[in-house]
């Protein structure tokens, strides 16, 4: 990366909390589900009642191992859980069961890497560790109530923490990394990876290194609810630290919160206390032993990862790299593509529609392919109507939008709106005659060899048919009648 001489270099490391796609919680059998009434998904274990004991959810370990394999980490055959001690009302035991890392106590996995593409070049970002822990409950500030309430439905939900080395060199790289990581987690079926819903959370450590090579004080930025917010928050923080450096002011080591609305980070007002979490091995859980047989089972169950999927799509369907990239932006998109091709085998056409019209719709509405009513079968049906001449491409685009909005099949939209293409030559012939009679000037121009005038006449026919006329037929009929 080109750094102007004398400008400080940006150093960013990320800590990502990933909510795992398990049916039950980390240490008890309570269901993991959202939107349930408060404190209905709880039991003595996740409420931290006296006498209750944790039992490790092996499915959560499976997903942690999947991630570790996907990131090329070293998986430790024996790891340990620890208690992280601090008082807070959303933490029912007043300690969190987590995996700490110190001599003789490795977490689940350490030392991996994830490739990102930045400024056209591929680069490896090192992963420091992957570990498992439990989520906390949620404080609810009820309207009109004086105090806070706690919802423990989230208490004990399985979390995986991924920590990078401080290898990222710009806010844009952080964005690229998070995008790639989220994609990996989604393809590995480890997490839904939705930052907006909190199933993926990211804290960022950022500092500047001067041209003298001396690292600056780092700050930790929290509370970003999208990948875009991470990039913006880091950009703000880099600029803030650079400005402090320019003025000769000290950067304070602190946790800062991103204010999405104002577009700034701010330090917490209360005095920063150095937290001593008094970690020690969790005596209620035996050490986690992962043997080769377990690892082999996880390896065998690992779904196809993004890079492999991309290569396969290119090879199997003759797609270009750019299309393949966009079709593997999410597993839902890749799956949608393959399922549509199964019903409508012209892969190029399917790819064009997905990266074109469908992607445009998703962008415009800020949504995802698996969150809309369109199904592969519906898209295939639509494409078939174009292929057999029932619809023009232009009409089909309108119909696509209507299908999504009204949750309808293509045929239903066509019928409901009377949008079937007019290919009947007798009917079209009458309209063409009317247009020719009404526009003698352009007709003369066409006869004089001015092709642009033909376009005008086609447009008039289209206008008269509400766009339903088969364009090929109109062209042919016009040329016949004008005699050009």
């Amino acid at each position: 990366m080109a750094t102007p001489a004398g400008a400080p270099r940006t150093v960013v490391g990320l800590e990502i909390h990933v909510q795992l796609l398990t049916a039950s919680k980390m240490f008890c059998g309570c269901a993991v589900s959202f939107g349930a009434p408060p404190n209905t998904l709880v039991c003595p274990v996740c409420l931290g009642l006296p006498g209750a004991l944790p039992v490790l959810n092996r499915r959560a370990v499976d997903l942690g191992l999947r991630t570790a394999l996907a990131l090329g980490c070293r998986i430790h055959p024996r790891s340990q859980f620890h208690r992280k001690n601090y008082f807070y009302p959303d933490l029912p035991k007043n300690y969190q069961i987590s995996q700490y890392e110190y001599a003789g106590h490795p977490p689940l996995a350490t030392g991996g890497a994830l490739e990102i593409v930045t400024e056209g070049a591929r680069r490896l970002v090192r992963i420091r560790r992957v570990h498992l822990e439990e989520d906390t409950g949620r404080l609810v500030h009820a309207e009109g109530a004086s105090g806070s309430l706690v919802d423990f439905n989230r208490s004990g939900v399985p979390l995986m923490e991924i920590v990078t080395e401080p290898d990222l060199r710009s806010p844009a790289e952080a964005r690229e990394f998070l995008t790639a990581l989220r994609r990996l987690l989604q393809f590995a079926e480890v997490s839904s990876g939705r930052m907006e819903e909190g199933t993926l959370r990211c804290d960022a450590n950022v500092s500047l290194v001067g041209d003298d090579g001396v690292p600056g004080i780092r700050t930790e930025v929290k509370n970003m609810n999208s990948i875009r917010a991470v990039e913006r928050a880091l950009a703000y923080e880099v600029a803030r630290q650079a400005e402090a450096r320019r003025r000769g002011e000290a950067v304070v080591q602190e946790t800062r919160h991103w204010d999405e609305r104002r577009g700034v980070t701010f330090g917490s007002r209360s005095k920063e206390e150095a937290q001593d979490y008094r970690y020690f091995p969790e005596p209620d859980l035996v050490p986690l032993e992962v043997d080769e047989a377990w690892l082999e089972r996880v390896r065998a169950s690992l779904p196809e990862l993004p890079a492999a999927r991309r290569d396969r799509l290119m090879a199997a369907f003759g797609l270009g790299g750019a299309d393949a990239d966009r079709l593997t932006a999410s597993p839902a998109m890749a799956r949608f593509f393959e399922e549509t091709v199964a019903a409508f085998p012209d892969a190029r056409v399917v790819a064009n529609w997905l990266v074109g019209e469908v992607a445009a719709y998703l962008n415009e509405h800020g949504t995802e392919i698996d969150a809309i009513t369109l199904t592969p079968r519906r898209l295939a049906d639509l494409l078939r109507l174009i292929e057999d001449g029932t619809l023009s491409g232009r009409l089909a685009k309108e119909i696509l939008v209507a299908m999504i909005k009204d949750d309808l099949d293509a045929v239903a939209v066509v019928e409901a709106r009377g949008l079937r293409q007019i290919s009947d030559e007798a009917a079209l012939g009458r309209i063409v005659e009317e247009v020719l009679a009404a526009h003698p000037g352009p007709v003369a121009d066409v006869r004089a060899g001015k092709d642009r005038a033909l376009g005008f006449l086609v447009g008039q026919v289209m206008k008269a048919t509400g766009g339903r006329a088969n364009p090929e037929a109109v062209n042919r009929l016009l040329r016949e009648r004008v005699g050009s």
Binding site: V55, P89, K93, N94, D276, P283
Partner: protein, 486 residues
């Protein structure tokens, strides 16, 4: 009818089956005994007489109908009040849990219900099982049935006193550093601390999770084995419960222990051991020798380091285990100016001085900069203690020490001096650190007070301990002596 309502649990069950008596009669006799002596002994924190009578009546009918009944059907049992009982008070002897009723049964409680036991009540204990005298209960001390001016030992003092006083033939306690064996020794009953992992801890309110173990108290070894069989075995709700088959302890009692080697810990007869205690232990060894056991000398060089190591590790775990008592969700909540002040006021009022002392000790031992010097070092001592025992078990099948250096001390005598109090556990603590089974049984008297013999076994070899103890009780009658109260 004997002067106490029943001698043993197995005797009761046999009498029920032969229809010589009924569970209702036994429960009434137990309640009458409680009424007579409980005002002075104060073994119970809660008693559920109505429920006991209802359950007894149901067993009456099943015995009368000649139905198959589970092994403890209709036997009154007392539970230490740190075992969760669904819908019934579980205070741990602490103000901070006053009024709390768990929504679930501990695994051992569920197993006792399945075995047919009638859960008569919950017994007194040192607050959160932290203590050696039951004086640390927020609800007042329990008294030793042998001498009401003396402590029953702790922390399971209520359970030991209830068995000694003839309130119940069986009781459960918990043992983190000697809390079953010490009160068993002081009250002249039998108490077993099983191997760590032998009995599920699910539903035992934690003091120090890596040391806590639930175990039986009874009048003799055979009843002790009967109760162990009812509660032991793996539990999917406690991942530290060992995946080993249940001990079938009672069935193992028949085999004579002839030829087994007894290792006497020579280090355990030094200064601090009362001459009367040492004499009773030596006499017990002669009895064992007479039964055909070989006496060997074994060394436990780290014995002295075990106590200080324990007083770092147990408080460290306790400091985290007791963090949840913050007034937010259950139990006592004292009003505070803000969140932190609410925590502070609740814990200030809810915990007694010994609990506070241990929380502070443990918090300190885990703090940044002290962890290596205290917690980690104590863990190393723990490993050394376990190795000492391994070496001893290369030369012996059972290791013998006194339960405690002295018999029961006077109420109030050591209350102001925690170090003196802690010394009562000097011979029991190493067994918890090593995770081994330890059996306490009466082996004589010193100044009219019971003396306890401690047999220590290899991991998961409760059967050998109980065999030796049972053979000893066949040859002696210390376990048949009854205190003046009873």
């Amino acid at each position: 009818m004997p002067e106490t309502p029943f001698e043993t649990a197995r005797g009761l069950v046999a009498a029920y089956r032969a229809q010589r008596t009924r569970p209702s009669e036994a429960v009434e006799a137990a309640l009458a005994q409680v009424e007579r002596h409980e005002p002075r002994v104060r073994a119970f924190l809660h008693l559920d007489a109505e429920r006991a009578r209802t359950e007894a009546a149901a067993w009456d009918r099943r015995y009368a109908a000649g139905e198959d009944t589970p092994p403890l059907a209709g036997v009154p049992v007392a539970l230490k009040d740190n075992l969760c009982t669904r819908g019934a008070p579980t205070t741990c002897g602490s103000r901070i849990l006053e009024g709390w009723r768990p929504p679930y049964d501990a695994t051992v409680v569920a197993r006792l219900r399945t075995a047919g036991a009638i859960l008569l009540g919950k017994t007194n204990l040192d607050e959160f099982a932290m203590g050696s005298s039951t004086e640390n209960s927020a609800f007042g001390p329990t008294r030793n049935p042998w001498d009401l001016s003396r402590v029953p030992g702790g922390s399971s003092g209520g359970s030991a006193a209830a068995v000694a006083a003839g309130f119940v033939p069986l009781a459960l306690g918990s043992d983190t550093g000697g809390s079953i064996r010490l009160p068993a020794g002081f009250c002249g009953v039998v108490g077993l601390k099983p191997t760590y992992g032998r009995v599920s801890r699910y539903g035992l309110v934690a003091f120090a999770s890596s040391l806590d173990q639930i175990g039986p108290l009874a009048r003799d070894v055979e009843d002790c084995a009967l109760l162990l069989d009812a509660i032991a075995g793996p539990d999917p709700l406690d991942t530290t419960s060992a995946r080993v088959p249940p001990p079938q302890a009672r069935a193992a009692l028949g085999a004579a222990p002839r030829g087994l080697r007894v290792g006497v810990v020579t280090d355990a007869f030094g200064a601090g051991v009362a001459p009367g205690v040492a004499a009773a232990i030596r006499e017990a060894l002669r009895t064992l020798e007479g039964l055909g056991l070989a006496i060997e000398e074994v060394a436990l060089p780290t014995l002295e380091a075990a106590l200080p190591a324990y007083y770092l590790l147990a408080p460290a775990e306790a400091s985290a285990n007791l963090a949840r008592y913050d007034g937010m969700r259950y139990g006592l909540r004292a009003a505070g100016a803000d969140l932190v002040d609410t925590y502070r006021q609740t814990r200030r009022r809810g915990f007694g001085p010994e609990v506070k002392r241990r929380i502070m000790l443990g918090t300190y031992a885990l703090s940044a900069g002290y962890y290596d010097a205290y917690y980690l070092r104590a863990q190393k001592v723990r490993t050394l203690v376990a190795r000492d025992f391994e070496r001893a078990f290369a030369r012996a099948d059972v290791v013998v020490m006194p339960v405690a250096p002295t018999p029961a001390f006077a109420i109030g005598e050591r209350a102001a001096d925690p170090l003196q109090m802690y010394l009562a556990d000097v011979f029991t603590i190493p067994v918890n650190l090593a995770g081994l089974p330890g059996l306490a049984l009466p082996c004589g008297f010193d100044g009219g007070l019971p003396v306890g013999l401690q047999l220590i076994g290899r991991p998961f070899d409760e059967a050998t301990l109980l065999r030796v103890g049972h053979a000893y009780q066949q040859a002696t009658d210390w376990h048949r002596r009854r205190p003046p109260v009873a």
